[in-house]
């Protein structure tokens, strides 16, 4: 009986407590308006609760006749933070990173020069890339270049091109850049998706990739490190660049490309910073890819640019496992020297 009474008391007390607390939670949103109203009675003209709301920008009873995105917000303080980040670290360190990456590549070129094939070229060609492989590579490559250059104009142009070109000419360049950026962007994303599918099977990680990475591909020592169709460095470009960076840059870019979906300014500011940071790192990485694909590795550019064929010696030098695979296959299929197969390979209808 006694215990029962105590229990009852506890129950009553908790109900009373909940009843007391509930309106408080419900009024949490109205609290500021309430405070302001009460303050007007005790201390007329003391609007401290109101100004607090303005600063926070969270007043639920903030209205305006003007229709639009966040038109009822009086002050958005995040803009200032975004300005400091974009004009500060993103521009400054982003600029340093790109300059350092370019200098490192130049230094490597002056130190080691282009990577040549050791020994004589055989003159026997094997097919490495199909016409579709090359078409999609260059669709992505050219649209990527347009995106990178136009993006650089918009982030850094003010500092290096504007003083040289003057306001009018630089504005034309920037308008061109912005429109190219906005319309080539979607093309780049679609092409990158197709390229990802096209090259996916050849970029699956293998055990020997770790060995390749640990030895840096022999780029510094000159040591021969065998690799598959793509070496680990190319696979890093594929997974980090074509896959990860493209998704991040693409998503953050699309948010900014379609402001008509009424996303607020904070979302845009985040997207802009993520977009710029990722893009700068992406560009720095791809500088390496562009170097190795053009002057850095003898024979690499020709294969992608012209016919997709590489010399057997080149294949053995740079992609030994792949070379062995192809040779094994061709021997099994009757030998690479068979005229019919050589003709077929020249025609380019079979790997």
């Amino acid at each position: 009986m006694h215990g029962n009474l105590a229990l009852r008391w506890v129950a009553w007390l908790s109900i009373a407590l909940v009843a007391m607390l509930l309106p408080r939670f419900a009024l949490a949103a109205e609290g500021s308006a309430q405070q302001q109203a009460e303050r007007q009675i005790v201390q007329p003209l003391n609007n401290a609760p109101l100004w607090r709301d303005v600063r926070k920008g969270e007043n639920p009873y903030q209205t305006t006749q003007v229709r639009g995105i966040e038109t009822n917000v009086l002050v958005q303080t995040e803009g200032q933070i975004w300005r400091e980040i974009r004009n500060g670290p993103v521009t400054v360190y982003g600029g340093y990173l790109l300059v350092l990456a370019a200098l490192a590549i130049l230094g490597y070129y002056l130190w080691k020069g282009p990577i040549k094939v050791h020994g004589q070229l055989t003159g026997r060609k094997i097919r490495r890339l199909s016409p579709w492989d090359r078409t999609i590579h260059w669709t992505v490559g050219i649209s990527w270049l347009i995106m990178a250059l136009s993006g650089l104009v918009m982030l850094f142009g003010k500092y290096f091109a504007l003083p040289v070109l003057g306001y009018t000419l630089f504005s034309w360049l920037a308008i061109l850049s912005k429109n190219l950026h906005n319309f080539v962007g979607p093309v780049f994303l679609i092409a990158a998706a197709l390229m990802f599918i096209t090259y996916l099977a050849r970029n699956m990680p293998a055990a020997h990739d770790i060995r390749w990475l640990l030895k840096g591909g022999g780029m510094l020592t000159g040591e021969h490190v065998p690799s598959g169709f793509f070496n680990a460095g190319e696979k890093v470009v594929f997974w980090l660049g074509l896959f990860l960076f493209t998704i991040v840059v693409g998503a953050s870019g699309l948010v900014q490309l379609f402001p008509n979906f009424d996303q607020g300014r904070v979302v845009m500011q985040y997207s802009n910073v993520i977009h710029a940071v990722t893009a700068v790192v992406y560009i720095a990485m791809m500088l390496g890819h562009i170097y190795l694909g053009t002057v850095g590795v003898e024979g690499a550019y020709d294969a992608m640019r012209y016919d997709g064929m590489v010399d057997e010696a080149w294949a053995k030098e740079h992609h030994e496992y792949w070379y062995n695979e192809v040779k094994g296959q061709s021997t099994a299929a009757g030998g690479a020297a068979s005229p019919a197969r050589a003709a077929a390979m020249k025609e380019g209808w079979k790997l």
């Binding site: 201390q43 009873y61 975004w82 974009r86 104009v153 308008i175």
Partner: protein, 206 residues
Amino acid sequence: MARMKFLADAERCIECNGCVTACKQEHEIPWGVNRRRVVTLNDGTPGEKSISVACMHCSDAPCMAVCPVDVFYKTSEGIVLHDKDLCIGCGYCFYACPFGAPQFPQDGAFGLRGKMDKCTFCAGGPEPDFSDAEFKKYGRNRIAEGKLPACAEMCSTKALLGGDGDVIADIYRRRVTTRGKGSEVWGWGTAYGRPEKPPAQPGAKS
């Protein structure tokens, strides 16, 4: 030289939107562009306050700082103006502005926003004063006519003051001492709290 400022007195504003209408009328502003707006706080509850807001012509304007093509310039009276011919319509000024002042005539799908438009303190733009081109792009140049902004001139309760910062601050100070309380000048810390930055474009019209 005077430093032009806006001052919105929340104790006086009655949310009539006269300033908004005056602005639209004066500059023949197209639909969807709102150089000035009135925001009401705690709408419908006792102690509600309204504030008229437009470009405040900041001393260290964030729009100026983030613009990728440097379209902004400042007159010798501290009015922040921009050159629409150079504008690329990227929207960065809108991201950066604390007051939501920059406006765009288009909705922005595929980044097509058109040329940015904002309050000019009724001071036109870089085109010759009173030219057709100036009126079409920036609206009337009342400052060159020797007048103050239309919104503030039109304000029925004189809640919105626009003009020499020292003069309007004096007016406001008088009001505050008469009332005995409420010295918060809305937005001044944000707009004029930082040291004055020089005009961005060299040789800009002053």
